[in-house]
């Protein structure tokens, strides 16, 4: 890497100043000139930018570097990079994407790549499995900074996947969990989401041209506010975090205005549109399956025989064809969550295994630092599995502080943090089928702080 000539030395010096100090306009111009028509210099420049991003990732810096901030126009503290349990591919993609972003730093006052005439959104962050197809249905090659055209559809797959997009006016849209959103409209922004969760911080829109969001049940008009929307085939759940949002039910045209701190649900049964206070997430949660397996559960088969006395319902682990693991999985309500974690939160589960083997318990949490979600996976694998326990109903109590958090190095002895929102729980056992059945699973605040497994009397 020794510089062969004076120009090379100068390039290294300018890049050094760019990375470590405040580079002035004169030096920036000089750097631009050096890169012009010199592919080798450009390659070297991009190698440095990429290394800078990779080092930041590897050394655990949570915030964007001054270079990246300049590149992205990010405000101090407004953009955070995820670490933790990101998949390998996502780490590489993010580092590569910063290299893409690095191009922008050479464009003071201009700061964008040539864009298509109908370009309207820019991809700001992504995590997990995210797909974007253009209006023609063709997949869009994703990198941070990618411009998305009108008609594009973003799909996020899996509970921990998400993508954030920004319009040129600063409006930000988060698509999270198992979700799909189609962006359209030029002068008037429009988003259609048939399923999943979107969260939006909407910049003031021109008079008479509110941002329109449509779901299967409702149409939202937003002039400028922050809101959280969860949509499914059965229900649209809207919460206004700031400002207000007008919701109109498609089926009958009934409208309500949802003000800051309020929420409303529009369902297929045309229940009254009642605007309520948005409640903070609960500290407890549970499901006893007495009334059957709720349709929102992701995995498991309802059973009503062979259960403990007085129990009328339980759920049997089902084989996941992809992972070849038997599991029971709760709903994944990204926006509402299941419960919030306290220092003394305990998970309880009454269960039985016909052929005892390992059982893993998982839960997923999220935080919303600086408006950008971070998700974490936690695991507990310390339940005893002795042959003598075959067919016995037992109740396990596990403090959440005994769960391990997943990072890129695997599961580590890092407990979940107080205040994180749990939005999914899963219990799994290996193949062949071990006959895992859960009669009841619940979460309490308060407990001994110890793992306890007792026979059910």
């Amino acid at each position: 890497m020794t510089s062969p000539d004076g120009e090379g030395d100068r390039l290294h010096d300018l890049v050094r100043v760019l990375l470590d100090e405040e580079i002035g306009e004169a030096k920036l111009c000089e750097l631009s000139e050096l890169l012009r028509d010199d592919p080798a210099a450009m390659r070297r420049y991009l190698a440095y930018m990429s290394l800078d991003a990779e080092l930041a990732w590897e050394c655990g810096r949570a915030e964007l570097s001054p270079v990246e901030k300049r590149a992205t126009g990010a405000r101090e503290g407004s953009v955070r990079r995820r670490r933790s349990w990101l998949a390998r591919g996502a780490v590489g993609a993010a580092a590569a994407a910063v290299a893409v972003v690095a191009i922008f730093i050479l464009l003071p006052g201009q700061q964008q790549l040539p864009i298509a005439a109908d370009s309207m959104l820019i991809l700001k962050h992504l995590s997990g499995e995210v797909r974007v197809s253009g209006g023609d249905g063709q997949p869009v090659n994703l990198a941070l900074g990618t411009r998305i055209s009108a008609g594009a559809t973003a799909t996020t797959l899996g509970p921990t996947s998400f993508a954030t997009f920004a319009y040129d006016d600063g409006t930000r849209i988060l698509v999270a969990g198992d979700s799909q959103a189609t962006f359209s409209g030029q002068n008037q922004k429009s988003i259609e989401t048939l399923r999943g969760t979107i969260s939006a911080a909407v910049a003031p829109q021109p008079a008479g041209q509110p941002l329109l969001v449509t779901t299967q049940q409702a149409r939202l008009e937003v002039l400028g506010t922050e809101f959280l929307l969860a949509a499914s085939a059965d229900e649209t759940d809207l919460q206004a975090k700031e400002g207000s949002v007008k919701l109109t039910r498609v089926a009958d045209g009934e409208s309500v205005v949802v003000a800051q701190g309020k929420r409303v649900e529009a369902d297929v049964f045309l229940s009254d549109l009642v605007v309520r206070d948005a409640q903070p997430p609960p500290s407890t949660w549970g499901e006893d399956f007495e009334a059957g397996l709720p349709h929102t559960w992701m995995a498991g088969k309802f059973i009503s025989a062979g259960l403990p006395d007085r129990s009328r319902g339980g759920v049997q682990a089902q084989l996941d064809k992809e992972t070849q693991i038997y599991g029971v999985t709760s709903p994944h309500p990204w926006s509402k969550g299941l419960f919030v974690i306290h220092a003394d939160t305990h998970l309880h589960m009454t269960y039985q295994m016909e052929r005892p083997d390992w059982v893993n318990l998982f839960f997923i949490t999220r935080t919303d630092d600086a408006g950008l979600p971070t998700t974490f996976l936690h695991k507990f694998s310390g339940l005893p599995a002795a042959r003598a326990d075959a067919g016995r109903w037992r109740t396990a109590t596990i403090p959440l502080s005994d769960f391990q958090r997943k990072s890129e190095r695997g599961f580590e002895d890092v407990p979940p943090r107080v205040g994180e929102l749990v939005f999914g729980i899963s219990c799994s056992a290996p193949k062949p089928n071990r006959g895992l059945v859960i009669d009841r699973i619940w979460v309490t605040q308060g407990g001994s702080g110890k793992v306890v497994v007792e026979d059910v009397e």
């Binding site: 592919p39 290394l51 800078d52 990779e54 949570a62 390998r88 590489g92 580092a95």
Partner: protein, 91 residues
């Protein structure tokens, strides 16, 4: 400042670079282990949350320029190492 032609060149180079991002990250991890503990600590200080050359310089009683030059020499060394490893794997 830039014309469209130069922007296109930059974009093309970036795409080529991005395709090898995972390989590079693997190589970086190996190359960091080859640094002396003192130099690795300097890199970690610089790239830890809130790390800045100015803060490192103040803490070490050195000038910003001196710390920056050392850091950049380490970056050059890491780039050399990464390129060597990536080229080796690709061969």
């Amino acid at each position: 400042m830039f014309d469209d032609g130069l922007l296109e060149q930059l974009a093309e180079q970036t795409v080529v670079h991005a395709k090898r991002a995972n390989e590079r990250l693997d190589a970086l991890r190996q190359c960091l282990k080859l640094l002396s503990s003192r130099h690795r600590a300097l890199i970690e200080q610089r790239y830890a949350t809130g790390g800045s050359v100015k803060a490192i310089a103040e803490q070490a009683g050195r000038s910003v320029n001196s710390v920056s030059v050392t850091l950049h020499a380490l970056r050059q060394k890491l780039l050399e190492c990464i390129e060597h490893k990536v080229a080796g794997e690709g061969a």
